[in-house]
């Protein structure tokens, strides 16, 4: 398994990138009262049929033909389930795919959330033809980064321009710090 939830999210979101998504939504929602850390990755990519969905959660099914899926989904599923949480993947051909992983927040087996700034920042700046909607919240307080809104403000200035890239990094770091208020997840 990957040592941070953020690395799994980066990995799973690559599937959305390769599925030719035009919008990828990533939601990280922490609820301390319910002892839950929930991750949802939702895309409007090419989607999968029922059989393919069954296959992606099976690490041993991976053949050269389906190598684009590989161990990413099984790792993600296992990391959530090993905390006593749950995992769900649903997909529709031509519509998109939704992956949800719920982690029990206090479980000793839960990986740290890790460097979400890097995950979101690199997805945005390295895939400038795709829009990203990132939601992060802790106990109902949260923020959103919507590249569609950023693009509107930026006019034609690309998201991977150094100044914009730095801004995105700071936006993620500062807003996350404000929401976390010194707590680490």
């Amino acid at each position: 398994m990957l040592p941070e939830i953020a690395l799994s999210i980066l990995d799973i979101a690559q599937n959305s990138v390769r599925a030719d998504a035009s919008l990828i939504e990533i939601t990280v929602k922490i609820n301390t009262a319910a002892d839950l850390l929930s991750v949802v990755i939702n895309d409007d990519g090419c989607g999968m049929d029922e059989q393919q969905v069954k296959n992606v959660v099976d690490p041993f099914f991976t053949t050269r033909k389906t190598r684009k899926i590989g161990l990413g989904v099984p790792f993600f599923k296992m990391s959530a389930e090993s905390t006593g949480g749950s995992f769900e993947i649903s997909s529709e051909k031509g519509v998109g795919t939704r992956v949800r992983a719920d982690y029990v927040l206090s479980s000793i087996d839960r990986m740290p959330l890790g460097d979400m700034t890097f995950t979101v920042h690199s997805l945005i700046t390295l895939n400038t033809d795709i829009d990203f909607l990132y939601n992060y919240s802790v106990d109902g307080n949260g923020y959103t980064l919507d590249t569609r809104q950023f693009r509107q403000i930026l006019g034609g200035v690309p998201l991977n321009t150094p100044d914009v890239s730095d801004y995105i990094k700071e936006y993620l770091d500062e807003n996350t710090a404000e929401i976390n208020q010194g707590r680490a997840f």
């Binding site: 690199s122 923020y143 930026l154 150094p162």
Partner: protein, 123 residues
């Protein structure tokens, strides 16, 4: 909360500059493998070292990008350097330190670091 006005200020500054980065064929591409195998082997600090290094040194006409699994998982983290008109160079088992060397010697100096390439491993 970080204000979106700062973003508008960046736009106003940038729009006065004519040379926005263009991703055309004259661009050298540095491609980092970021599939499960790459990530598990430590591709993140490598990608970070390349993007930060290129940006810090203000190198133009170089684009850092990512790709999926290229089928050589045992050699991950893998980085491919594709310069226009030149043969593709595949670096294997990369680290952030090696990335800094590649920027210095290969990207800036134009000299391939053969000790880190895939050819050095299969010979």
């Amino acid at each position: 909360m970080k204000s979106l006005e700062e973003l508008a200020a960046i736009r106003n500054k940038m729009q006065n500059q004519v040379n926005l980065r263009s991703e055309d064929s004259s661009c050298t591409r540095i491609v980092v493998g970021m599939a499960t195998c790459g990530i598990a082997a430590g591709a993140r600090p490598v990608l970070k070292a390349f993007s930060d290094g290129i940006q810090e040194k203000g190198i133009k006409d170089v684009m850092v990008t990512q790709t999926g699994c290229v089928g050589l998982c045992q050699y991950e983290p893998i980085v491919e350097v594709m310069a226009p008109g030149k043969e593709k160079v595949t670096y294997i088992k990369m680290t952030a330190e090696k990335a800094a060397e590649v920027i210095e010697h290969h990207i800036i100096g134009g000299e391939v670091l053969t000790k880190y390439t895939i050819n050095s491993a299969i010979q």
